[in-house]
Symmetry: C2
Subunit: 556 residues, 2 copies
């Protein structure tokens, strides 16, 4: 069996200029990065402003196994299949971080015969967006520490600097550091830490900004620290939002690439799905909507996190809400939710599927609360049995949700045709009638409570002592009018990762709130959230190499 | 008077495809980065292997004022002028670091009417080379700390890790840090520090590597730490040279841009000129030599550092040695060497020029020791008087060195025609007969001593206690066969920055040696060397912004 990179390297790519022609993008509308990657110009994006948006399909998933349910693969395969049945379709996906690429084997540009290409470039430096975000983030840190060093005009309390540095690597040794040591010439000593770049608030900002002016306004609104009398200090106080916008001006332009089947894809931005909203950029999704008849996009983690944030945080920034949501499920994960141990997931187990279906059922009901119709996609694995598939279809029929088996990983576009046809038929019924779960004027407490009770299925919320104090502080600062971004485990509806299926009666504990006033949301922390991964004992980097002709070895 | 960026933005650029056509590079030989930047493919570089190299002109300078003597500006203007008088000419220059761009006003892509364009891009992310080097450097750090964390198979002494992290920013707070704090899950606590990216050994390696295989071999040869029994640990022990090469594979390809006058320019690599060799990449210079009849290149700092290293370290990796060396001098700097205070440099002072000429004279004599003919270029400033220029010309005649006044900053190509004609006439006499100052088999002690006595004009070398111990250690390890890379102040021939003119009788103290076994040289530290600059009280970043159309404001 071929690996992802072997499949990717066996494909003869078309020049990206040819790919984008089919959606009306000309040579002068793009900036090439080699022959197969390009950035779309602001001129073209602006010229599309009055274009009627096409149909929007959001791909999400049940609570996944640690290997993931294959959302990206399914998104790519579905888009290829939509094109195959004659719908002019584009994809809008997140771009991968280099950290996990060096760490753990596992593609971030789809898999099998449902990949975006050139996967080598996309997984390495791509068009430099991650590097621009890293640079902007760390330039802000350097300018902030320079403010402390050069007289500290704003009276910043160096113990209350909340802006952290970043690297786009898995580097546990940088999680907690002390900077400014050695000499008065080396700055003010203080505790600091590094997150991975995709956890930077600047990544979330880049993915929510609608244009350069909005980007700059959001950057200016970042809180970086508090003064000795506990007042927030913003980027606009430091007067560096112009410089940060300058560093990010090209990164804001969406990236154009292609799938194995020549479907044009916008791969742009990739914020975390816990401390951020987990979706590709608003600009990419908006642009795809205005260029294509169908746009397929995805949201990170399971639907309780990714889709909830897509619908409550991202959608208000889009020209339209989704016309349909595809929930990806694997029989393996359903069996896991039904109580089967990881080692036994390859064996047929109808009872476990019946039990585990509760997880899928709750996700379906949740999406329907937003007024958007749902289609279930079963991501086929070799171990799936006919009886298991038949049972799942029967269970889906019981809750009146369309379901299709899709084999896009193995069969590419052809493996997604049935799913594509079902999606089109649901979309063409025009039942979507989007409604948001909460309104901006709800208090933070109300917002969190609605998410926990109506989406997670929990009994209620416990606010820890720090969170309680913050509820009042944030209301005083006017920050409570922003949406809430839940930081929770992706493996369970509850805040306990081993609490599988469809748990009930639980409470969610919110330990702390974190203001992301530039991104425009308030993060609610439940449990520990890892913002800097570590490397495994045998990092993927050990198997990487380059051939004499410059092609990559060992990227999955 | 227009600023550099105003001049740059007033120029209508030609597509880079058109620019490179004139030196025989076709569309399929390059990878575009937008319309005005490109990387040259390895295929094209390889196809040029048997091409006869053209003439090589090295631009260097006297010991400069803090503002610099204008070497880059002169290199660009000279190349434009050579093209103007009918010589097919290319430029090979260093690419700038973002750190100083955010910190201190001052262009790094030439100035006035002698600039490489698009200057905005070149000064910001360009084609991502700096980011690739930052990433490779820090990936190595993460993999090294992961080795410590995961059992430390090689017995690395965490107090003797010499590999530092980098950021491409001026960030003094990162000079000295402690990493790995907070929990056993956060790695092994140890002292660490960050350099600016251009000080990374990987930058020096990229600039000396002749192809991908050589790059990988050099990366494998980096020493990162010592074991508890003081044995060096190399990158090849960690088995990550393949991954690092993969991260750097595109960064190794030279970048093509253009000057204001449409001269094709290779702008690639930019190592420090103190702890590294201060020259653009071997691949860029070699490629230019094989494509053009004339190649103009430069070396960092004054000729005692930059040209010495170009001739002793870089030249052995090139297909040929320089045919002529241009030494840039300003009347201002000569007056400074003649004892005039900084505030009085704009006033005519013939005596000071006569006294300060000793500095230029020693540089001319030094270059001649390498068997290469010299031309002096006077970089014109508005305050220069006719009498001063006449005097300098007379003094140059006295030591039989051709000299020309050049006004490329104000007048562009036309301002460099006289210089270009003189350079061509010197080159066409064919007097160059390159000889290296020392041979690889000389001991480190001998190499340093030759540089100090024959180039700096010093009496001898004092090796401090640590350096003395290292002389023996490095000889035992076989490291003494590498060239020496002097880390010394650029402002004086001696190791005392205020010791101007042509000091005599001084001794140079070598405090410590630093092995750069991947780059293939041993750094000799004299005095303090700053490898991480700080930001000034009013950083240039405060004046930066982006217009609605995406163009930059405040980049010089």
């Amino acid at each position: 069996m071929k690996t992802d990179i072997e499949i990717a390297q066996s494909i003869e790519l078309k020049p990206i200029t040819e790919i984008v022609e089919q959606v009306g993008i000309g040579f002068d509308d793009i900036e090439l990065y080699g022959k197969y990657k390009a950035k779309l110009s602001f001129e073209k994006i602006n010229a599309l402003k009055d274009q009627e948006p096409g149909k929007l399909i959001l791909v999400t998933a049940i609570n996944p196994t640690p290997a993931g349910e294959g959302k990206s693969t399914m998104s790519i395969g579905l888009a290829d299949a939509l094109n195959k049945i004659g719908k002019k379709t584009m994809i809008a996906l997140r771009e991968p971080s280099l950290g996990p690429v060096m760490g753990i084997k596992g593609g971030a540009a789809g898999g099998g015969y449902a990949q975006v290409l050139p996967m080598e470039d996309i997984n390495l430096h791509f068009t430099g967006d991650m590097h621009a975000i890293t640079t902007a983030n760390n330039a802000l840190s350097a300018l902030l520490d320079n403010h402390l060093q050069q007289g500290n005009e704003f009276g910043i309390d160096q113990r209350r600097v909340i802006w952290k540095r970043v690297v786009d690597l898995n580097d546990r040794a940088l999680r907690q550091v002390i900077v400014g040591l050695g000499s008065p010439l080396n700055g003010v000593p203080r505790e600091d830490g590094f997150d991975i770049t995709v956890a930077s608030e600047i990544m979330a900002i880049l993915c929510l900004a609608t244009d350069l002016a909005d980007l700059k306004e959001r950057l200016a609104s970042i809180v970086v620290a508090y003064t000795h009398d506990r007042k927030p200090v913003y980027v606009r106080d430091l007067k560096v939002e112009g410089a940060l916008t300058l560093i990010l001006k090209d990164a804001l332009k969406p990236n154009l690439v292609q799938t194995i089947y020549g479907t044009p894809a916008l791969v742009h931005g990739g914020p975390f799905a816990n401390i951020a909203h987990g979706c590709n950029s608003v600009l990419a999704t908006t642009t795809a909507l205005r260029l294509a008849d169908y746009t397929v996009t995805e949201a990170g983690f399971g639907a309780d996190l990714g889709a909830e944030k897509f619908l409550n945080i991202k959608t208000p920034n889009l020209p339209k809400a989704p016309d349909a949501v595809v929930i990806v499920a694997t029989l393996r994960a359903l069996k896991m939710h039904g109580g089967v141990a990881k080692t036994d997931l390859s064996e047929e187990n109808l009872d476990a599927i019946r039990a585990g279906f509760a997880n899928l059922e709750r996700h379906v009901a949740n999406i329907r609360k937003f007024g958007v119709p749902v289609v279930v996609a079963i991501n086929e694995f070799v171990a799936d049995t006919a009886a298991e598939v038949a049972l799942l279809k029967e269970l889906c029929a019981g809750i009146d949700v369309p379901v299709e088996l899709a084999s896009v990983w193995a069969d590419g576009a052809a493996g997604g045709v049935a799913l594509a046809e079902t999606v089109v038929s649901v979309v063409e019924q025009g039942q979507a009638n989007y409604t948001r779960l909460y309104s901006d004027s709800d208090s933070l407490e109300e917002k969190v409570t609605k998410i926990v009770t109506e989406i997670y299925g929990g009994r209620g919320v416990v606010f820890g002592p720090k969170a309680k104090t913050q509820l009042k502080q944030f209301a005083d600062l006017g920050w409570d009018k922003m949406p809430v971004c839940m930081a929770k485990t992706q493996y369970s509806f509850s805040d306990n990762p081993v609490d599988l299926g469809a748990p009930e009666g639980f409470e969610i504990t919110v330990r702390e709130f974190v203001p992301k006033t530039g991104a425009g949301f308030i993060v609610a922390l439940t449990g520990d959230v890892m913002t800097m991964p570590g490397l495994p004992k045998e990092p993927a980097a050990l198997n990487m190499d380059v051939r004499e002709d410059g092609t990559a070895v060992g990227l999955f």
